[in-house]
């Protein structure tokens, strides 16, 4: 059954139509990649799903419930959250405090301590740095903190906006390993990436977005094999660069 069903989603910034009626569906426990060049509308899509974008239209069902128009905190409390583009950790707060903030919306206080231990087991570097200001962490560590935060909010569905952005290849490896770990733990993931090959390596299914519309979609393995993708993608890159 689908955890997330997006129908005819549009996002407009004033008269600029950034997303033009797209359909996406994410199976429960699945990992779906949303690919596309810069400016395609990937972040706008995720922001609209989380209640972060104003001019959103269409239908978004999360676990069968129509959530478009809900404030973000209500969506999070229902079990879906986002790791925003650029990580956006609370720089002046310590790692520990960042993790405390992530649990504010939870009702099951009793299980928080155990979850925190699990998160530290998954991200040992955060345990080492738990008393440090988040702003003093490296980019990769901040990305891990952003993932850990989302995990501690007890969400079942995570939207990840370019988690590899600006990270060294080795660090990207770590981040992608953690994303696979999250999938193994039963989380449902919608992953926005520019790093097409890596994203297709771990995704079950993928959509390619260009100029606010879906131009290609299918099982990740198929897209990886199809010569069409690289061409379509490069063509789009060139087009959007022009």
């Amino acid at each position: 059954m689908s955890a997330l069903v997006v129908q005819d989603l549009g996002v407009a910034y004033g008269s600029v139509q950034a997303v033009r009626g797209i359909d996406i569906s994410v199976e429960r426990g699945g990992l779906v990649a949303l690919l596309g060049p810069n400016g395609a509308g990937k972040s706008s899509t995720l922001r609209a799903l989380m209640g972060w974008a104003r001019g959103a239209s269409g239908r978004v069902a999360f676990d069968g419930e129509d959530i478009l128009g809900w404030p973000p905190e209500r969506i999070v409390r229902r079990g879906m959250t986002m790791v925003p583009e650029g990580r956006r950790v609370f720089a002046d707060l310590t790692v520990d405090e960042n993790l405390v903030v992530a649990t504010v919306g939870r009702r099951d206080r009793a299980t928080i301590a155990a979850d925190r231990d699990q998160v530290f087991a998954l991200f040992p570097v955060l345990y080492e740095r738990r008393g440090q200001k988040a702003g003093s962490l490296s980019g990769g560590e901040q990305q891990q903190l952003a993932l850990a935060r989302a995990l501690l909010s007890a969400a079942r569905l995570l939207l990840l906006d370019e988690p590899s952005l600006g990270l060294a290849p080795k660090v990207v490896d770590t981040i992608f390993e953690r994303i696979v770990d999250l999938k193994r733990r039963g989380l449902t993931l919608l992953l926005v990436e520019q790093n097409v090959d890596r994203a297709l390596d771990i995704a079950d299914h993928a959509y390619v977005l260009a100029n606010g519309a879906i131009v290609m979609s299918g099982p990740a393995a198929e897209l990886r094999r199809s010569a069409g993708l690289a061409q379509a993608y490069l063509g789009l890159e060139r087009e959007s660069a022009a």
């Binding site: 404030p71 905190e73 999070v76 409390r77 405090e97 405390v100």
Partner: protein, 297 residues
């Protein structure tokens, strides 16, 4: 100048500066959360003063009056947020500012018409108007209490912001409001909490102010909150520690000028205070504790 006289002035400065610090901190907390300098903060303070006045008027003890001042400050601040600011929260900063001017004006008119345009006397019990003599040092009871309570409130708030879930959530919301909501923090709850804290602080400040002057009037909050606003700017907009430091600094400047200026210049001390403030801002345009714009993205 004797060391006693100097100590005396330090106490005066701590007392006055502490009151500015409480008001400035309230302004800064609300600003950190929604980018609004609440010009109606003075009316929260005046309203709290009327809470104190009313309790004394009906013959209840002064101690209850203090509780009433704090509770009134809290209630007015929370109601103000809910009624006036929540509906326009997503409007432009200019619209928010205009709303706060309107709220301020409306509340002044309400105080004038429902209570009195003139000052209302508040009888302060003898225990509070007295003073202790330590050697040659005279410490007013109200003054001493105001310093102790101010420091206790600042210490309490520090613990609140460092140790409690709500306090940490408020700091998170102050640093990145949108992402804080992604953590499940309710926008309405943290903003209401910010106004609530600012109201409690204004209530405490109102108590000291009224106890030292013995009366409440509709414009009572204007001058101290104007000073608090200056303190926020001097301390560095957006830094809570800066607002507190700015408040105390302003207290020291004011008392220092009052004490040490030659008699024929004392009349100009407000102007001189502002000149010093401008000098500080010329030297440190972001204020004492201000720093370059948030580097996080």
């Amino acid at each position: 100048m004797t060391i006693e006289l100097l100590l005396q002035q330090v106490l005066n400065a701590l007392s006055l500066g502490g009151t500015y610090a409480l008001l400035a901190l309230g302004l800064a907390i609300v600003f950190s959360m929604m980018g609004l300098i609440n010009f109606a903060h003075g009316e929260i303070m005046s309203g709290a003063g009327y809470g104190l006045w009313f309790v004394i008027l009906v013959g209840l003890p002064f101690g209850l009056g203090i509780v009433a001042a704090v509770v009134t400050g809290l209630a007015i601040a929370v109601a103000m947020e809910k009624i006036a600011f929540r509906p326009v929260r997503s409007a432009s900063p200019a619209a928010l500012l205009l709303t706060s001017f309107a709220v301020s004006g409306i509340m002044q008119v309400l105080f004038q018409n429902l209570i009195s345009p003139k000052g209302r006397p508040v009888a302060v019990p003898d225990v509070l108007t007295g003073s202790w003599t330590l050697g040659t040092l005279h410490v007013g009871t109200i003054q001493a209490l105001s310093i102790i309570v101010t420091l206790a409130l600042l210490a309490g708030l520090t613990v609140f912001f460092r140790r409690t879930r709500m306090g940490i959530a408020m700091r998170a919301a102050a640093s990145d409001f949108d992402v804080a909501r992604l953590m499940g923090i309710r926008a309405n709850a943290v903003i209401a909490a910010a106004f609530g804290v600012s109201g409690v602080l204004a209530g405490a400040a109102a108590t000291f102010w009224v106890a030292q002057r013995g009366s409440v009037d509709p414009l009572m909050g204007f001058l101290p909150v104007l000073k608090a606003f200056i303190a926020v700017i001097v301390g560095g907009l957006g830094r809570l520690e800066g607002a507190v430091a700015g408040g105390f600094l302003l207290g020291f400047i004011e008392i220092g000028l009052r004490a040490f200026l030659p008699d024929d210049l004392v009349a100009y001390r407000e102007a001189l205070t502002l000149a010093l403030v401008i000098l500080i801002l010329v030297l440190r345009p972001r204020g004492l504790m201000g720093r370059a714009r948030e580097s996080v993205r």
